[in-house]
């Protein structure tokens, strides 16, 4: 069974847990994955998100989330105006992603320091979300746990090196998945943990010398 606060809760801005609260969390997680303030956001909306976003305030929630507003932040109602004041360049366009989840959004983001990333995810009900793509990697990330994302080459021993770092810092792995484009090519490791991931841990991961990059995404 789930927890008491899945039933009485969450505290959220209405009107819809999937189209508003989930959309805000999706924006929030996409922004955290970018890892820096968003300068430009092109958002593609699929399915029910594309058809009904105006009536549910989905657009406001997605942009509010990208600016770091939580699903209970009353500024969501005015998120589009706030984004304009902050100079955040945003746009929405419908897209047909075939049989993707009906509440899917794809964020094409550019950060204020120039970082670019494409994040795709779905609002899967009750305010719960799942990020399903980062750039062209097919992944799964819920934002319920602090997460370590590692980009590396698909070869033996990398997972052990990274899990050694986590063990040394007494971080427990709750869930872990590895994704690769093709055997021996670029791969992505997603590790959801019970403890927060500090900058020390990220630096130690980078110091192993066996990875391209590592970054932490906090729980949202």
């Amino acid at each position: 069974m789930r927890g008491v606060f899945d039933i009485v809760g969450p505290i959220m801005i209405g009107p819809s847990s999937s189209h508003t609260a989930g959309a805000a969390r999706l924006g929030l997680l996409a922004g955290k994955i970018l890892g820096e303030p968003v300068a430009k956001a092109e958002i593609l909306l699929h399915g029910s998100f594309a058809r009904t976003y105006r009536g549910h305030g989905t657009d406001k929630a997605l942009i509010g989330g990208l600016m770091g507003f939580s699903p209970e932040d009353e500024r969501i109602r005015d998120a589009l105006e706030i984004a304009q004041e902050r100079g955040l360049d945003f746009s929405f366009a419908p897209v047909d992603l075939g049989d993707a989840h009906p509440n899917t959004a794809v964020f094409v983001l550019t950060g204020q320091n120039g970082r670019k990333i494409t994040v795709g995810g779905a609002s899967i009900g009750g305010g719960n979300i799942e990020v399903r793509n980062i750039d062209s990697f097919q992944i799964a990330l819920t934002g319920q746990y602090p997460s370590l994302i590692v980009v590396h080459t698909d070869k033996p021993g990398v997972i052990r090196e990274i899990s050694d770092v986590l063990a040394k810092h007494h971080v427990n792995i709750a869930f872990m998945r590895v994704f690769r484009r093709n055997r021996g090519q670029q791969a992505m490791m997603i590790i959801e943990t019970d403890e927060e991931l500090t900058e020390d841990i990220i630096q130690d991961c980078r110091s192993t010398g066996v990875i391209e990059n590592a970054f932490a995404v906090p729980a949202i």
Binding site: V4, V8, G9, G57
Partner: protein, 290 residues
């Protein structure tokens, strides 16, 4: 270990330990969440705070929703309470529930309970009952755990999502939760809690989820008011000693089976029922274009 997979097990645990359904649910949550008691209680107090704020804002709300379909009805109901047929208590619970649901529709802050579409029912029921009984804040928090315990079992054995089970899954579950909380606030027994849940849900079995234009507004906002009243009647029946012929867990099983067999058109798709009436279609075209 505190564990329960049915309302019967939850009630038996409460009886065995000579305590309430709410207290058992608290123990369950503590064991399963690795949370501290203080933090868990604080989280529920925060929920209650937001619930009260949403009622206060709701019963004076004059804002309209983004679609313009809802907003401004709770204030009318609240003003009418002393002239009403149903009486002050019933009108207050109805106005409060409609008010919270309006706050949700105008992008205000609410507590999903169990969902955003059904967010007015439990807060309105608990606030109205607590005012009548002069319950303490501690009793109110315990009643919220009672409601949550009922919701947990329904979520595990049926569904709380309109997309899976129709509106019976959302407003039906909320009615069961609200009735259970009201019985506990009046000092009812664990058995009476279970009876109230059974009665509340039985009378909402098969309810369609057919919102106009797919928005959480028509019929949802006013339905929250009706269902809050409905749950109050269920609580009163249980407290008066009325029993349910069909035991509560069998009622939840019926709800699950009915939910599965309901056509997709009335499970939050906006492809049937009120959504596809002549007026419903016109509204949809006006809000979203053809």
């Amino acid at each position: 270990m505190v564990n329960f997979n049915s309302i019967k097990e939850l009630i038996e645990l409460a009886k065995e330990k000579n305590t309430t359904v709410g207290k058992i649910t608290m123990e369950y949550e503590l064991e399963n969440s690795f949370d501290s008691r203080e933090h868990m209680l604080k989280s529920m107090q925060d929920n209650w705070q937001v619930m009260q704020e949403s009622i206060q804002r709701g019963v004076v709300n004059k804002d309209k929703s983004l679609s313009g379909l809802t907003g401004g009805d709770a204030i009318k109901l609240y003003a009418h309470k002393d002239d009403s047929y149903t009486g002050r208590t019933v009108m207050t619970v109805a106005a409060s529930a409609v008010g919270v649901s309006e706050v949700n529709a105008v992008m205000g802050r609410i507590v999903a309970c169990p969902t955003a579409g059904s967010c007015g029912i439990v807060p309105a029921a608990i606030k109205t009952a607590a005012e009548k009984n002069h319950n303490t804040e501690e009793e109110i928090i315990e009643a919220l755990f009672t409601a949550a315990g009922i919701g947990l079992v329904i979520e595990a054995n049926a569904s709380i999502a309109g997309a899976y089970g129709g509106c019976q899954a959302e407003c039906g579950t909320a009615a069961g939760m609200a009735a259970a909380a009201m019985v506990q606030l009046a000092g009812g027994t664990p058995d009476q809690v279970g009876t109230a849940v059974a009665l509340a849900i039985k009378n909402l079995l098969g309810l369609a989820c057919d919102p106009v234009a797919g928005l959480v507004e028509v019929p949802c906002v006013k339905r929250n008011g009706f269902v809050a009243v409905h749950s109050m009647v269920a609580a009163d029946m249980a407290l008066a000693g009325v029993e349910s012929v069909i035991p509560v867990d069998e009622v939840i099983d019926a709800m699950d089976r009915i939910g599965r067999s309901l056509p997709r058109a009335v499970k939050e798709t906006a492809e049937g029922g009120l959504a596809t009436t002549q007026t419903g279609r016109k509204i949809s075209e006006r809000v979203f274009g053809k």
